[in-house]
């Protein structure tokens, strides 16, 4: 259950065929207090790199891009009601969407934790 990272500060974690997607701790620190998240509709398909969600913080808004291609099978309603979860636990309860992944091979092009740590340092 490895977590992979994009240069745009999304993370993706595969559980079977299901990819959990969210934004990194670093991203939440850059954004500041998250005040709303716009999530996609269940059933919609995204290609790797498509805009899949938007996060608004007090300060700014940021697009979230799909780290891999796939179909949305669930969105995290909890963060629509309590967006501060994204700040509190970005890699756990603060996930955004679950995608049914189209091509696991796309994960190979993403960074592992060590590479991402280097990317943001």
């Amino acid at each position: 259950m490895t977590t992979r990272f994009t240069k745009d500060h999304e993370w993706v974690r595969l559980e079977g065929d299901v990819a959990f997607i969210g934004i990194t701790q670093y991203a939440t620190e850059q954004l500041g207090d998250v005040i709303s998240v716009e999530l996609p509709d269940v059933g919609k398909s995204f290609k790797k790199g498509d805009e899949i969600a938007v996060v608004d913080s007090v300060k700014t808004a940021a697009e979230v891009y799909a780290p891999v291609s796939g179909e949305v099978i669930e969105v995290n309603d909890g963060i629509e009601d309590a967006p501060q979860i994204v700040n509190d636990e970005p890699l756990a309860g603060g996930w955004f969407v679950k995608l049914k992944i189209a091509d696991k091979g796309e994960l190979d092009g993403l960074m592992d934790e060590a590479a991402y740590a280097k990317h943001i340092s």
């Binding site: 207090d33 005040i35 716009e38 938007v54 007090v58 700014t60």
Partner: protein, 370 residues
């Protein structure tokens, strides 16, 4: 952290860094946008207790001599600005556009001249414009570049400040004076730009860190960055120069007509008076209003405002109001749509979002009017 090596620094730069601030560029200065507590927490702390803001990047000046030369450039009636009083006024260009908004006061007594505080981004231009207007008129502007400026804002500000400067307790909103704080001569006014009671405190630069640390040693006081300063002033319905007002906007359009003194209107002797008085009589084409978005997504500066399918204006400030608990915005709309409750749509990321014109301020002002 942004690369702040080439930026100007206020006397409190080292303190900001020590307190863990994230420093950003603002008007050529390295300024704290937020401290580790974050914008939301800093904003709410200011509304609930007291926040300390470094506003040393703003321009401070002492203006002496014939004040008619200053009055000719602004909208205030300086003849009624008594000793120990302060006024909010506007520096206008010849077309009546707003060059800056500024505070003028008489902390030094009736014959001590005017103390002026102008915005950081405009200070060079403001002072040059003033000096040009003062030339040959026996009026002198001395920039007080060796002074820092702090703002202490919030419901606990008075208790904290008057604990250190008991004489300041006599001040009500928009009054000022020269006081001693921990052995240091300061100019203080009961004013600020958050909608809260509070003080703006001018301090010699070399004493600023000591005074800031003294104020921060009170547990009711927390350091507050520019992020929360912006959300506080937006909730308070106060204009940010370069955003909610600029040289292309008149005071009438900016809903700041109240800042033009009655006697100045009667005399029609301020810059752009013909245009502005006509706008007062006929009404402007566009007007600044508060806007309350209906959904959770804030509309940011630059978002188009739509009514009945037609673009009727632009958002000039927008974000989330932590005390209001929802997105808030200000912008310009066609004047016939300026009434609170008027339905609008805001274009956010290409999609129209329902909103309405709202009364300002979003959070009630709590100035100490005595």
């Amino acid at each position: 952290m942004a690369d702040t090596a080439d930026l100007l620094k206020t006397p409190l730069y080292d303190l900001h860094v020590e307190l863990g601030a994230r420093m950003v560029e603002f008007a050529g200065y390295a300024m704290p946008v937020q401290y580790p507590a974050g914008i939301m927490s800093e904003h709410l702390h200011t509304r609930n207790q007291a926040g300390l803001f470094d506003v040393s990047h703003m321009g401070q000046a002492h203006i002496t001599g014939d004040e008619a030369a200053l009055e000719a450039l602004i909208t205030a009636d300086l003849s009624v600005l008594g000793a120990g009083e302060q006024k909010y006024t506007l520096l206008l260009n010849a077309e009546g556009g707003i060059m800056d908004d500024l505070m003028v006061s008489r902390p030094f007594g009736a014959d001590g001249g005017i103390f002026a505080v102008v915005n950081a981004g405009t200070k060079g231009k403001d002072f040059a414009h003033m000096r040009a207007g003062f030339a040959g008129r026996g009026t002198t502007l001395t920039e007080l570049a060796d002074r820092a400026l702090l703002a202490l804002q919030g419901p606990a500000a008075a208790a904290v400040f008057t604990g250190l400067v008991p004489e300041a307790a006599k001040l009500v909103f928009m009054q000022c004076g020269v006081f001693t704080l921990d052995g240091v001569e300061i100019y203080a006014s009961r004013s600020g730009y958050t909608g809260e009671d509070g003080f703006e405190i001018s301090i010699p630069a070399d004493k600023a860190e000591r005074i800031a640390r003294l104020l921060l040693s009170d547990e009711r006081v927390k350091p507050i960055g520019l992020g929360a300063r912006d959300s506080l002033r937006l909730e308070a319905g106060l204009c940010l120069y370069g955003h909610d007002m600029d040289e292309d906007r008149t005071p009438v359009e900016a809903a700041l007509t109240w800042a033009i003194a009655k006697v100045r209107r009667e005399r029609a002797d301020f810059p752009g008076a013909a245009k502005i008085l006509k706008q007062i009589a006929d009404g402007p084409a566009q007007k600044r209003v508060g806007i309350k978005p209906h959904d959770k997504s804030p509309a940011r500066e630059g978002a188009e405002i739509v009514h009945d399918g037609e673009v009727v204006g632009m958002v000039t400030s927008g974000g989330f109001g932590p005390s209001f608990g929802a997105p808030v915005a200000m912008g310009y709309v066609r004047a016939d749509l300026a009434k609170p409750g008027t339905p609008l749509e805001l274009m956010v990321r290409g999609k129209p979002r329902a909103a309405e014109v709202a009364s300002l301020p979003f959070t009630p002002h709590r100035f100490h009017r005595g």
